[in-house]
């Protein structure tokens, strides 16, 4: 296969470091996201073990604060986001009938900056202490006066680098979806997962700059002695809360919208019906995204913003219930009159609905500011957002992974193990978090490393910890499933679930590196289903067979990210006094920062000056493979 192009194709590790193929980048995202998800999960289990009984001393108060900070930060930025990007990378180009994303080079750059940012953040565990000010890093607790280790520096610098990757990814998907849809695929014929990913990418575009600004200001305060949040010098800590939540609330929708998309793909497939109320689903998604930017201050009802702000943000927040409700009913009525099959992806998708509804109703309860004065910063909030981010979102992701696994890897996941992991996960989940509603109502505040006995907290906390372990077992089943499946031979059909509706099911699993030999012609919503119903086995091509232009693999994105990583480390330790005079010399004189930046900008220069026009897969090679298939 590689006869004519051996120069352009790397093998082994080098292949993975240089790839610009969206399908391989998807797998990289999945592996890296899975790694961080595992770390965050272990942190969660440690947290629950500490809280298993009152006045426990399993970990110290300081360690506990580091654990909760890293658990939240890791799960949101480094665990769930990349796995969502894995799904988007694996599926979007296939769903819209494209051969890759709009900017394959940027795609690779986005992954590597995310990975190096995440690694930098987690290095804090072995380099003098993890961040300890909560994932929200409220000032003044996160300023240099009250958090004296480098922990929060790892947080600000690590997240800036990782956030760069997310922003790049978001822009890339916007461009891809706008410009690279196959002929006939109008916006209102796009699959729902593509739609929600599109909206999510737009939200990333607006939300991530906000947090980047916040993180830059905070790192300037901490490292360069600026005064943005220093009260004594005229700074204002409430400002941080605004900046953080102007990003932080849209972030929640950035996470959940793609899960909505997954559910909107999985449920129709396994009900053998088209999505009920497609256009209202699109409309609801856009409305949620829009309102999502208008509600950030509902995280700050007890900050003291005054009644006018609290009233407006209360009502804006409650309004989000309306479009979300539309979605729930549409899913239910998609199943209505269908023929539901309880495969493992569909189990996760069906489990998603009640869990999300429960997270939603507690959300409306929290939206009411007077009630929030009680609920705020208690375990009620912890229960609420875990219902949304774990019970719903992670279920959605697992549904998506089970659903598209054969497309990504060419192998079906084992159904028995899949069902086992579903039941352990969902039962463990509700055991862990349902009781936390009551803990919150009974007065247990969040982020406490321990609690006094005789408050009726003991049994509920014990149940919660047992639930967390059960949930952990569910995740381990999934891991075993993935490993066992990887040892099986490839070879599933194009449409292994038999009722696939969208374009990705029209091509081999896994798809060849160019995806579509001929770009398909789209003749309606659920393009592949439409052809199947018309009696066609394949999509109608929109072009004759011709040479396919491919982007060249390149190591530059990896090198650029290494450069940023080095510069970030250099910046963080620029004011450190080292015992070693050589270290002092290179860090305190900004030499490390300069080296890092030279590497990054040098690579950018190289990329700009050296024209790489890519290469072509010739017609003969395509036909040769056609014969094989």
């Amino acid at each position: 296969m590689a006869h004519a192009h051996s120069v352009k194709r790397h093998k082994g590790l080098m292949d993975w470091l240089t790839t610009v193929d969206h399908k391989k980048i998807a797998i990289l995202y999945l592996l890296a996201g899975g790694l961080f998800f595992g770390i965050g999960g272990i942190e969660a289990i440690l947290i629950r073990l500490q809280l298993i009984k009152p006045m426990n001393d399993f970990v110290s108060a300081q360690t506990f604060n580091e654990l909760i900070t890293m658990h939240g930060t890791t799960m949101i930025f480094l665990g769930v986001m990349p796995v969502i990007f894995a799904l988007m990378n694996a599926v979007i180009p296939l769903q819209i009938g494209a051969r890759d994303v709009a900017f394959p080079f940027l795609n690779s750059l986005g992954f590597w900056t995310f990975l190096f940012g995440g690694l930098l953040l987690n290095l804090s565990w072995i380099m003098g202490g993890a961040p300890d000010a909560g994932w929200t890093a409220y000032t003044p607790l996160s300023t240099h006066t009250y958090s004296t280790t480098h922990g929060v520096d790892f947080y600000t610098v690590g997240l800036q680098i990782a956030g760069l990757g997310t922003l790049i990814g978001g822009i890339n998907f916007l461009a891809t979806i706008i410009t690279m849809r196959a002929p006939g695929m109008s916006f209102m014929r796009m699959p729902m997962f593509t739609w929600t990913s599109f909206i999510t990418s737009a939200m990333i575009l607006f939300a991530f700059p906000a947090v980047t600004v916040g993180l830059v200001l905070l790192s300037f305060d901490r490292i360069l002695g600026a005064n943005f949040f220093e009260v004594a010098n005229g700074g204002n800590p409430v400002l941080w809360q605004h900046i953080f939540w102007i990003f932080g609330h849209p972030e929640v929708y950035i996470l959940i919208l793609p899960a909505f998309g997954v559910i909107s793909e999985v449920i129709p497939t396994f009900s053998r019906k088209r999505l009920f109320g497609y256009s209202s689903m699109v409309f609801a998604t856009i409305l949620i995204a829009f309102l999502g930017f208008m509600v950030w201050a509902h995280h700050m009802f007890t900050t003291g913003l005054g009644p006018v702000a609290n009233a407006l943000f209360s009502i804006a927040t409650m309004l989000i219930a309306v479009p979300t409700g539309i979605k729930i009913f549409n899913w239910l009525f998609t199943m209505w009159g269908g023929q539901i099959r309880f495969t493992s992806p569909n189990l996760f998708a069906i489990g998603f609905i009640p869990t999300f509804v429960m997270g939603g109703v507690t959300g409306v309860m929290l939206a009411s500011a007077p009630a929030d004065y009680q609920f705020h910063d208690t375990y009620f909030v912890v229960a609420h957002f875990h219902y949304v981010i774990v019970g719903a979102l992670v279920s959605g992701i697992l549904a998506g992974l089970h659903y598209w696994w054969p497309k990504m890897f060419g192998r079906m996941l084992n159904e028995t193990l899949g069902k086992l992991s579903f039941w352990f996960f969902i039962i463990g989940f509700h055991l862990t978090f349902f009781v936390q509603h009551f803990l919150g109502l009974m007065g247990m505040q969040r982020r406490v490393f321990t609690y006094l006995p005789n408050q009726n907290f003991d049994t509920l906390n014990l149940i919660s910890t047992i639930g967390a372990i059960t949930m952990g077992i569910g995740v381990i089943f999934f891991l075993i499933n993935a490993i066992v499946t990887a040892t099986k031979p490839k070879g599933v059909a194009n449409d292994p679930w038999e009722d696939g509706r969208t374009l990705e099911w029209a091509i081999p699993s896994p798809p060849p590196e160019y995806n579509f030999k001929q770009i398909p012609l789209v003749r309606g919503i659920d393009a592949y289903w439409k052809e199947k119903m018309a009696g066609n086995k394949e999509m109608t091509p929109a072009e004759p067979i011709g040479p396919i232009h491919m982007p060249s693999p390149t190591i530059l994105p990896f090198v650029m990210s290494v450069g940023i990583f080095i510069a970030g480390l250099g910046f963080m330790f620029s004011k450190e006094s080292f015992s070693n005079s050589f270290m002092s010399l290179i860090f305190n004189n900004w030499i490390v920062v300069i080296i890092g930046l030279v590497i990054t900008f040098g690579s950018m220069l190289l990329r700009s000056l050296y024209d790489d026009h890519g290469w072509h897969i010739e017609v003969e090679e395509l036909e040769e493979e056609g014969v094989k298939a």
Partner: protein, 301 residues
């Protein structure tokens, strides 16, 4: 709050009922091969499940807005309000009663039936002032963003107070007590607080106490404002807010709690600012003496 729970439970019931019905009725049966009807949607249904939630939101929004504005009213300078300036510290609470010229810590004494108007601020990082049984919480911010709110209670008793905003290592242990007493007792308490300080009877111990403790702490009219006021600590419900005294569930004698604290403050509250008495050169005997003295420093009210 009750209204919101009722509405939400109703919503849950409706959605779950539809869900269960669908999952039972529309499973794929063996040998079922025909393709189900591909329904595009239903305009009427869409309208129904848009309008009904909108109405529910409206029903919820009206009382919400009313209560927000009621809660936001400033009663601080109203006649008959008892003003309390709350200052939060890592990890203790300072309560100042400007109308009475009294300052105390860790235990807030309030008269029943009166409006207690708080002015909240912090001396260091953000904290949040919360007495779950009596009211919602309010953040304590630095100067410039100081908050006011108020509550009242008619029931005498001891209420648990907490810090609800992550504030450092011992955030979990930053508890305090609220003791609601009759207005008469409250007046007596104020008088007792303003009485001259009672110092240890033993002259040498009194010197040690003055030199080692009163540089930061205060009793009565003596000492400094840096650390919690100790006037009448023997009659409080807890030591350091979390070592509960006799009379509380799982409480221990005051003296025992004071000794636990004095022997190693860091072991009780990691990261607190008090130097260990032993590091200040106090002997076990002196610590025992001071614990004994403080345990017996009680106020009559």
């Amino acid at each position: 709050m009750k209204l919101s729970i009722t509405i939400m439970v109703a919503v849950l019931v409706v959605v779950f009922a539809i869900g269960v019905y669908v999952l039972i009725k529309f499973r794929r049966k063996k040998g079922q091969t025909e393709i189900p009807e591909q329904v595009e949607g239903n305009f009427k249904l869409e309208i129904i499940w848009t309008v009904i939630p909108l109405i529910l939101v409206f029903i919820l929004a009206v009382p919400t807005v009313q209560q927000i504005f009621a809660f936001g009213d400033d009663h601080y300078n109203e006649k008959g309000s008892v003003q309390v300036k709350v200052t939060s510290h890592q990890y203790w609470w300072e309560f100042e009663y400007p109308q009475y010229g009294v300052n105390t810590a860790q235990e807030l004494i309030i008269p029943t039936g009166k409006n207690i108007a708080f002015e909240l601020k912090t001396a260091d990082v953000l904290h949040s002032f919360w007495v779950p049984s009596l009211s919602g919480k309010m953040d304590t911010n630095p100067d410039g963003t100081i908050n006011r709110f108020s509550f009242s209670t008619d029931k005498e008793g001891v209420y648990r107070g907490k810090c609800a905003e992550l504030c450092g290592a011992s955030h979990a242990l930053m508890e305090f007590k609220v003791k609601a007493v009759s207005p008469d007792s409250f007046d007596k308490w104020v008088t007792a607080m303003k009485a001259p300080a009672v110092l240890p009877k033993d002259q040498a111990l009194a010197e040690t106490f003055k030199n080692s403790c009163l540089s930061c702490h205060a009793v009565g009219d003596q000492g400094g404002p840096v650390a919690p006021n100790l006037t009448g600590i023997g009659s409080r419900e807890s030591v350091a807010g979390i070592l509960l005294n006799e009379g509380q569930d799982g409480g221990k004698p005051v003296k025992e709690n004071l000794k636990t604290w004095l022997e190693d403050p860091q072991a009780v509250k990691q990261g607190n600012k008090m130097p260990a008495p032993k590091d200040l050169g106090l002997t076990d005997e002196q610590i025992d003496g001071i614990a004994d003295y403080l345990a017996n420093y009680k106020l009559e009210y």
